[in-house]
Amino acid sequence: MKITEALVDYISQLSRLRLPPEEKRAMTTELEGIVAYMDVLDGLDTAGVEPMSHVFPLKNVTRPDQTAPSQDGEELLANAPASKEGAFLVPKAVE
């Protein structure tokens, strides 16, 4: 699997990251080496094996609905980089 700078650009965009040119070059080379190593898995016969996302067979874990107080709004907003009138403040998203 060849990792190109164009592919790194594409996955950076998906990840909301922007690598400066020098960092991008280094990252391309490193990812190439890591992905090449991951091809070791090609040697493992997994025909007919069901992918396992969880080691225990947990299904539909539910609890009864109960009303409980929410976290205090002011406490939550205390960590926000910017807030206004009880809301998170961000640049305008829709003109």
Binding site: L44, S53, N79, A80, P81
Partner: protein, 486 residues
């Protein structure tokens, strides 16, 4: 004996009997922490002792401890050693913090780590690397490096860390202390900042297996706020430590003792096998060929989950925000680009790649299938054996700076620990000797799912016969033991 050299249970007993006061214990810890901060950089935040509301009935009540800095502590900053969270002050406690506080734990602060627990050396911390108290030119391991270093150097009597691919066990091995990753689901992850949710598990680092059992006794159990937590009876892991090993079958996977394993580590772990044999266990070699596939499967799954979990850090709801940005998209991108370190970005990119359209089947789905094959191989092994014994790491602690230059090499050094997380198993790292440079060596005991008690009991049996866990950095190092006791 100096207080810092006691085990957590010994100090707990002294506090209970009144022969040591809580103030004296805290004072002893603070004196050590002053040295540790200058030399090892183990703490990110040192707090005044958080006096528990209740006295607590745990045998560890009143014993000073600390948390890895990815465990949320109400009112105390929780940074994950990342710029993006450097000023984050949680408005709630993690479940483990609530439970330990109720049992009388006295927290002295938050411990350094690899950024977002991504790393094997605690060098990816944005607050500088942790240094190994046995040799300050070497790493403490990672990602719970601050936790292992703080316990080894006597700043706290135990610490609570997290283990996604070896992050408790590996630094414990490098620092000569005991660390346990319990069965997946044993300890609630509520309040643990997520790295790879299907693999993350909280666990203790302490001097002895008995200490680890006592800490787990407090933390264990179902929590409605973590739907993957198991309803395990808190039946007393500490009370179950008999040291009895007669008739136990222990398997040594030959695949963990081949190429790439340093000789002093191999000798020390095989010597540990002899100690277990002498206590009545039957130890034999067997083959576990899936070991070849564990590192690629682990890094694909862990990075995939990380790329999803870390998407929440966007400079909006909490954490750091880039100083200049234009529109909303630019705010996200600039914040993440400047807020995350290189290793975190590398894993996010790798995870995004293996999940992206066109590569998903070849990498992510393949890794999930490999996980099923690896789990099945361990199931077969545990049909024959009660426990497995392996090294924790291929070598002892590397020098600072050696690992970061070659990320793939660093990933490969996780070979003995990551399989345990993939299969959801309990495993413990215990000190079993020193290499010729005087650096600690760890042996790993792995149990079947829910076999946490078996693992702890075998480690306890080993520690009844040996005193590797009672060695202290800067203390009396016995050259005769340089080859791991052989």
């Amino acid at each position: 004996m100096e207080l810092w050299k006691l085990t957590a249970l010994e100090l707990g007993e002294a506090l209970g009997s009144g022969s040591v006061t809580r103030a004296a214990a805290v004072q002893a810890a603070q004196a050590r922490i002053a040295w540790i901060q200058r030399s090892c950089n183990a703490f990110l935040t040192v707090t005044d002792p958080q006096t528990p509301q209740k006295a607590g009935d745990s045998p560890l009540a009143g014993v000073p401890m600390a948390y890895k800095d990815n465990i949320c502590t109400k009112g105390v900053r929780t940074t994950c050693a990342s710029r993006i969270l450097e000023n984050f002050i949680p408005c709630y406690d993690a479940t483990v913090v609530e439970r330990l506080a109720a049992a009388g734990a006295v927290s002295l602060g938050k411990l350094n780590m690899d950024e977002f627990a991504m790393g094997s050396t605690s060098e990816t911390s944005c607050f500088g690397p942790v240094r190994n108290p046995w040799d300050l030119t070497r790493v403490a391991g990672g990602s719970s490096g601050g936790a292992a270093a703080a316990v080894a150097a006597g700043g706290v009597w135990y610490a609570v860390g997290s283990d996604t691919g070896g992050s408790i066990r590996q630094p414990a091995a490098y620092c000569g202390v005991t660390g346990m990753k319990p069965t997946y689901g044993t300890v609630s992850r509520y309040g643990l900042v997520a790295y790879a949710s299907s693999l993350d598990q909280i666990g203790p680092i302490a001097r002895s297996a008995a200490d680890c059992a006592a800490v787990l006794d407090v933390m264990i159990g179902r929590d409605a706020r973590d739907s993957t937590s198991l309803d395990r009876p808190a039946d007393g892991l500490l009370a179950g430590l008999t040291g009895e090993l007669r008739g136990k079958r222990i398997g040594l996977p030959a695949d963990c003792f081949g190429d790439g394993l340093d000789r002093p580590v191999a000798s020390a772990v095989l010597a540990a096998a002899d100690v277990l044999r002498a206590r009545g266990a039957e130890v034999e070699e067997f083959h576990l060929p899936v070991m070849k596939y564990v590192v690629p499967a682990y890094y694909i799954i862990a990075c995939a989950e990380a790329s999803s979990n870390l998407s929440r850090f966007d400079g909006v709801k909490y954490g750091w925000r880039a100083e200049s940005y234009g529109d909303l998209g630019e705010l996200y991108t600039s914040t993440r680009t400047q807020g995350f370190g290189t290793e975190v970005k590398r894993r996010i990119l790798l995870g995004t790649f293996v999940l992206s359209s066109g590569y998903y089947d070849a990498y992510y789905k393949k890794a999930l299938q490999a996980k099923a094959v690896i789990k099945a191989a361990f199931d077969r092994a545990f049909a024959r054996y009660d426990l497995l014994l392996t090294p924790v790491t291929p070598s002892t602690a590397p020098r600072l700076g050696e690992s970061l230059s070659d990320p793939l090499k660093m990933y490969l050094s996780d070979i003995y620990t990551v399989s345990v997380n993939l299969a959801g198993l309990p495993a413990l790292s215990m000190p079993c000797g020193f290499d010729p440079q005087g650096l600690p060596i760890g042996a790993q005991l792995i149990g079947p799912p829910l076999g946490d008690g078996e693992v702890l009991n075998a480690a306890h049996a080993f520690q009844l016969e040996t005193d590797w866990h009672r060695r202290h950095p800067g203390g009396q190092y016995a050259p005769a033991a340089a080859e791991g006791g052989i």
